[in-house]
């Protein structure tokens, strides 16, 4: 019962914090404040809301074990509402007013780019849990999601392999912002190196929140009928994925004809979609809920219990875990380990202590924080969608892979150092 009342207290704190009373809650001295910066409304809420809850769960867990450095962790949750400039504003508020020691947040790269100057200027820490396009290395950010060589490149290699259907033509389909544009630039250059010409690549972008995918699907059908085996690489982000996959199912585009591999679609995004017509379409991640191992079983059990106890909409009846949740969970725990090691929450000391941290991840491998480049060494999995919205792993790397934030497929990246510039 004590635990429950504690959970209640935490929930109260969060509610108060969100309502803007953060400064009035318990005095800062006896807690360590942790910022949570995820969109809880707008087009990205479909993906980000659950990450907020994952951070809160990890914090609960650490607090239940006695907190850090003898202090409890106190989450400060804000809602940047899928509004990119608002991300920067909220980040500044978290660091300057709430004096958080660390922030966990962002999904889209455009939001990360928006908050980056704030974190660098105020020398604070951001843990970014989502796969992204690379081309960035800040001393103030730890990237616990995948770099392109840990997701995009292996996925396309798989599509080109015999098992992936020996695809020869590619549709690069994405939402119109920095992550899809950059990823597709890298992929185009990678495909060139594999002998695929520009005639066999089609690039298409849609605005955020786009909901009418009829023309795009018709275009894909036409493109695929013009020649060799075609595959679609989707970097569509946010709630557009629901109408996109619905249209895909309605138009009868089957995975055995034109497989679609997605980089931002996981168990959570498929929740609202009838997965039966989508069976066989692919996703590449560093974690799937369906992976069988004791660490993952424990992780799913923990999350299910947490979701039930906190009445999290959707998850209380049908708990789902996904890759960014795993990355968030790794991030919070690694940060906690680093703070314990550094015996301080000071940004520079924690950064130094982060190097080489390891954590037994639910993905089934021990993830290691690279000694220098602020990215995790992660395994890569490719899964096919099953009729129940889960993924069946059909390919995986033998072990964790080191991230290459600077892609070898972008010529300007040549000679860039694999560690953040010292300021």
């Amino acid at each position: 019962m004590q635990r429950r009342s504690f959970i209640k207290a935490t929930a109260m704190t969060i509610a108060l914090a969100t309502a803007g009373f953060a400064t009035m809650t318990a005095s800062a001295a006896d807690t360590i404040k942790v910022g949570v910066l995820h969109s809880l409304s707008g087009t990205m809420a479909i993906s980000e809301t659950v990450l907020k809850d994952t951070v809160l769960m990890a914090i609960d867990e650490i607090n239940a074990k006695g907190g850090l450095l003898g202090k409890k962790l106190e989450p400060v949750v804000v809602d940047p509402a899928s509004n990119w400039p608002l991300f920067a504003e909220k980040a500044r508020q978290l660091i300057s007013n709430d004096k958080v020691a660390v922030t966990f947040g962002c999904w889209t790269s455009v939001s990360r780019k928006s908050v980056l100057p704030v974190f660098e200027e105020l020398n604070s820490l951001l843990f970014y849990p989502v796969q992204y396009e690379g081309e960035e290395l800040s001393k103030n950010v730890f990237y616990t999601g995948a770099a392109p060589n840990q997701q995009a490149i292996p996925a396309v290699e798989y599509l080109m392999s015999k098992d992936g259907g020996s695809a020869k033509r590619f549709v690069l389909l994405g939402t119109d912002y920095v992550y899809p544009r950059t990823t597709n630039k890298i992929l185009r250059s990678f495909l060139h190196s594999k002998g695929v010409t520009d005639d066999d690549i089609m690039e298409e972008y849609t605005p955020f929140g786009h909901s009418d995918y009829q023309t795009i699907i018709a275009k894909i059908k036409k493109f695929s009928s013009e020649g060799k085996k075609t595959a679609v690489v989707s970097t569509i982000n946010g709630d557009s994925n629901v109408p996109y996959y619905k249209e895909l199912g309605n138009q009868g585009l089957k995975a055995t004809d034109v497989p679609v591999v997605a980089f931002s679609v996981g168990e959570e995004e498929l929740r609202g979609v009838d997965a039966k017509p989508l069976v066989g379409h692919l996703a590449a991640w560093n974690y799937f809920m369906s992976i069988k191992n004791p660490t993952n079983d424990a992780f799913i059990k923990k999350w299910s219990a947490y979701a039930k106890a906190h009445n999290i909409p959707g998850h209380k009846d049908k708990p789902l875990t996904n890759d960014p949740m795993e990355a968030t969970y790794i991030g919070v725990n690694m940060w906690a380990q680093a703070v314990t090691k550094a015996k301080s929450t000071d940004t520079d000391k924690v950064i130094a202590a982060m190097a080489g941290q390891t954590f037994k991840a639910p993905g089934g491998f021990t993830s290691t924080m690279d000694a220098k480049n602020h990215h995790l060494h992660k395994p890569v999995f490719i899964g096919e969608i099953k009729a129940d919205g889960q993924f069946k792993v059909v390919w995986k790397t033998p072990g964790p892979i080191k991230a290459q934030p600077w892609s070898p497929y972008i010529p300007e990246d040549k000679g860039k150092k694999d560690e953040p510039e010292k300021k």
């Binding site: 809880l40 015999k162 605005p207 929140g209 009418d212």
Partner: protein
Amino acid sequence: MTSSRTSSRSRLASQIIHSALFLLILCAAPLALAKPSPALILKLAAGDNDAKVEALNAIAGSADPEALPLLQALGNDALKVVDGKQVLIVDGDKVTDAVTGATLPALPENAEDVVTNNRVTLALQDAFAALDLTSPDRKTRFEAVKKLQDAPDEAIVPLLDKAQKIEKDPQILDMLRMTQAAAQLHNKDKAVRMAAIETLGTSDDAAMKQLLAGLLDKDGDKFKEPDESVRLAAQNGINAISSRLRRGEWLGSIFTGISLGSILLLAALGLAITYGLMGVINMAHGELIMIGAYATYVTQNVIHAHFPGLIEFYPLFALPVAFLTSGLIGVLMERLVIKHLYGRPLETLLATWGISLILIQTVRTFFGAQNVLVENPQWLSGGIQVMSNLILPWNRLAIILFAALVVIGMTLILTKTRLGLFVRAVTQNRQMASCVGVATPRIDTVAFGLGAGIAGLAGCALSQVTNVGPDLGQGYIVDSFMVVVLGGVGQLSGTIYAALGLGILNKFLEGWAGAVLAKIAVLVFIIVFIQKRPQGLFAIKGRFVDA
């Protein structure tokens, strides 16, 4: 399953089966087999994907009905393999050895799933289809050939031969011929290849075009197809199919345009009354649509909880609910706020914008900021295949039909009823209408409520194709105003033409320039158009027009 019977016969028989299988895999000899051999089963379960596909093609070629349980187990992920030696079929709690047929007490700890990826699944589907080829049911046979068509393996050619001999249905016979041609595209004999290409050239299926294009592939510097004349024939075949496909593509573009147009029309119709006829700049129009969508969501949940038998038809119940909810909110808005602001457009704009923010926040408070899940009933999922490359989705068709019905209903109300007469009278000349005894304030309220209710209907329809969240309406308010202004304020028919025109224009531009540019181009077009013709497409002429 096998050994008890085979051991009772002679060893020789099983050896013959073995070698026959081997032969079958090698040269696709037409052979009828008693049962999949243990070696084949093992290959299917424990081999790598290449071996699995080979084994499946062999089973497809033999069309052996006794392989069915094995295939079903593979398809349902119920096939397990232990140590790469023992193959087990799991059915609920029952575990059977696929080779011996013996029942095991429990699944061994180290049993691993047999993972099938898309490539294996495709071969599996072909194997299933091969078994269905001789089914007495026409529909089953039709589906089977259709499946086989996509990527047929040469191993099934003898089977197709056999099927063609007994097939009576001309359509299926035609498809069988096509499939056989597709399977023979890489035959060693040039004459067979040429004949196959010629047959495929008469098809109107994009998949066949893709198969032909495969012949033009290069392997390094060398063409995979060595013979120049064969390549030429393939190219001709591709061109012939392309010209046949073009019609479907055009029709597809027009359909998507009409579909988008019907959505714009539904979103704008309510506004055509409140803004077009009454002149109220209603910035909360989008939120009335959103309320309609949420009303649908609530109806769905209520029906799901209390009348699960009716869940398939919940949209029909949701329509009146959405209409009444939004209409009621519209009436309240008019009575409480807008009534006091007639003739002051700027204040109306600000007040209704404020109302829209209040409505969004209210919905957020009650339903949460996240999108809610509105499910498509089964009869609104999928689509109807009109041409080989044209599928019309049911939900889009339903919305087009629905939009047409709403337009007809609204026209009838405005032209055939007393209320419609009053509304038109008040719009044309308020003072005169008042003079002859029309209760103009009541008419205003009812007309506004009607416009709001139609917005609610639009929300109900939109919930079937788009995400339902508190911000739903904001995406449609600009589009709605665009349509009404372009069509000409005060004109219903203008709204219809403008919506369909914009929809088709947008979709054609999208096909040509991409979704982002198309949206910009449409906005630029409207700005230029309104500059040249501020009154819109159709303007009311005459002396009654309000200044």
